[in-house]
């Protein structure tokens, strides 16, 4: 039924497209993962201060970004932010052009989307902190800050790690949507290739395999990190 023809892989143009595509996918995923994790940590940290106006802003940010499609967020950033004034003058042609390239738009959208999810994850890690641990810290005379840094943050990080793994692998998968705003990543070049050689099925299968492999490597590394950070008798990784 399926007779798959992969002879097109011999074409050097396609080969270089695939390589560039994978490199750009990795770049986009790495940048947005790191940024999302940082946003998540800072956001959750800010929430522990319990400053009402700051918390309201963070909550708004989280809800807006996690309740709208990242695809739409990227399109919005790409097509409308420059209309709203984010422009620079191109020194080459003297014309004004958008400040943010397609790649920047995708990276920023994905970071914010992932960051919103990460804030939630870290926040819930801090919230599920056993009351007993907090009391022990209090009883030993820790100040609120010292208690947070020395005791709660390390434990919360550990508790949040599985959720973070989910978010980062989700983010990695979402990078494929950046093809829609012409970021030259894997999915974009996949489109270029099958529009050229019409071997859609073969191209899609290859792309699927590449993505699954890359995401599996990511989740494997995160699982290693979980195990490395584990302390006996706590969480799943220990047992």
């Amino acid at each position: 039924m399926l007779d798959l023809d992969y002879s097109w892989l011999a074409d050097p143009a396609y080969q270089s497209w695939l390589v560039v595509g994978v490199i750009n996918t990795l770049k986009l995923a790495a940048i947005s993962s790191i940024a999302a994790t940082l946003i998540g940590m800072l956001g959750a940290l800010a929430l522990t201060l319990r400053i009402a106006w700051l918390d309201a802003l963070i909550e708004l940010f989280v809800e807006v970004f996690r309740n709208t499609p990242p695809l739409l967020q990227m399109l919005f950033a790409y097509f409308t932010l420059s209309t709203l004034g984010l422009q620079v003058t191109d020194p080459d042609t003297g014309l004004s052009m958008p400040l943010l390239s397609a790649f920047a738009c995708a990276a920023i959208s994905l970071s914010l989307f992932g960051g919103a999810l990460a804030i939630e994850a870290f926040r819930s890690g801090i919230e599920t902190m056993p009351r007993a641990i907090i009391e022990a810290g209090q009883a030993l005379g820790y100040s609120r800050w010292a208690r947070f840094w020395r005791i709660e943050a390390p434990i919360a990080t550990r508790i949040s790690l599985p959720a973070l793994t989910n978010i980062l692998s989700n983010l990695f998968k979402t990078t494929s949507q950046a093809s829609v705003i012409t970021v030259p990543e894997l999915m974009y070049y996949a489109g270029q290739i099958y529009n050229d050689n019409f071997r859609t099925m073969e191209v899609m299968i290859l792309v699927l395999v590449i993505y699954v492999t890359l995401v599996s490597i990511l989740t494997y590394l995160m699982a290693r990190l979980e195990r490395w950070m584990a302390f006996p008798g706590y969480g799943k990784a220990a047992s």
Binding site: D90, L95, T182, G191, Q192, D196, F198, T200
Partner: protein, 248 residues
């Protein structure tokens, strides 16, 4: 085969453009209209007896062939340029338009008037255009390919690219629009490309039935009428075809 299926279901499923005036686009009421839409309706009438027995499925360049191949569509009338590579995966109907190949739309001030000058520069384009690989491989452009024309025009206006490469006629019509008066055709087309409908590889019976319908339309001068209706410049090619078809 497909023709039987069409008759059985009593409806022709056609893939058309919705963002490609004058061939297929949405009017202010949100209806799909255009040169190729009229053609498709005509074909439906010929095959099934009524213009109404038709389902218009919006497609873009990058998905039209897949939709056809996977059985979603019976036929496409979607500004499909005839090329050897495509002929390997689908069958073309008789061609009904011969348009100039790609040209480049750029701001009035642009000094890039030769194709070779675009090497290494960002140029907007559309995913699924038959000349895309030539642009990157031969001219060395940094092609930024969008899914739809709307997006590509938008990106050109934003100066995300120094020009937009696309079918000459469409771009020429664009320069006539009030918002596009300070744009010009910077690089001229280097070839002419005929356009035809597409059916699945091996759908010979359907292809012949459609060909017959198109010839009939040409003979009745319908295509010239539609040209006028949708403000297309009168093309010699269509007039020529109408003459030969009428003579038969």
């Amino acid at each position: 085969d497909t023709l039987d299926t069409i008759k059985e279901r009593d409806k022709l499923v056609v893939g058309v453009k919705t963002d490609y005036a004058p061939y297929g686009y949405l009017n202010d009421d949100g209806e799909i209209v255009g040169f190729e839409i009229e053609l498709a309706k005509y074909v439906a009438k010929e095959l099934l007896g009524s213009e109404e027995k038709i389902e218009l499925v919006p497609v873009v360049a990058s998905n039209r062939i897949d939709f056809l191949a996977s059985g979603r569509l019976d036929v496409i009338f979607a500004t499909l340029g005839i090329s050897a590579a495509r002929d390997e995966v689908i069958d073309f109907t008789t061609q009904y338009v011969s348009a100039a190949g790609p040209s480049i739309l750029a701001p009035e001030a642009s000094k890039l008037t030769e194709w070779e000058q675009y090497e290494g520069r960002p140029v907007c384009g559309i995913q699924g255009s038959y000349f895309n690989k030539k642009m990157t491989e031969e001219f060395g452009m940094n092609l930024i390919a969008f899914k739809s024309q709307t997006e590509a025009y938008r990106a050109l206006k934003d100066n995300r690219c120094v020009g937009m490469v696309f079918d000459d006629m469409t771009l020429r019509l664009k320069t006539l629009e009030p918002e596009w008066t300070d744009y010009k055709i910077a690089a001229q087309p280097y070839e002419f490309a005929p356009m035809g409908g597409g059916v699945r590889e091996g759908d010979t019976v359907l292809k012949e039935a459609i060909d017959k319908a198109i010839h009939k339309a040409e003979g009745e001068g319908k295509l010239i009428e539609w040209e006028a209706e949708f403000n297309m410049p009168a093309s010699e090619y269509i007039a020529e075809r109408a003459k030969t078809a009428g003579a038969e």
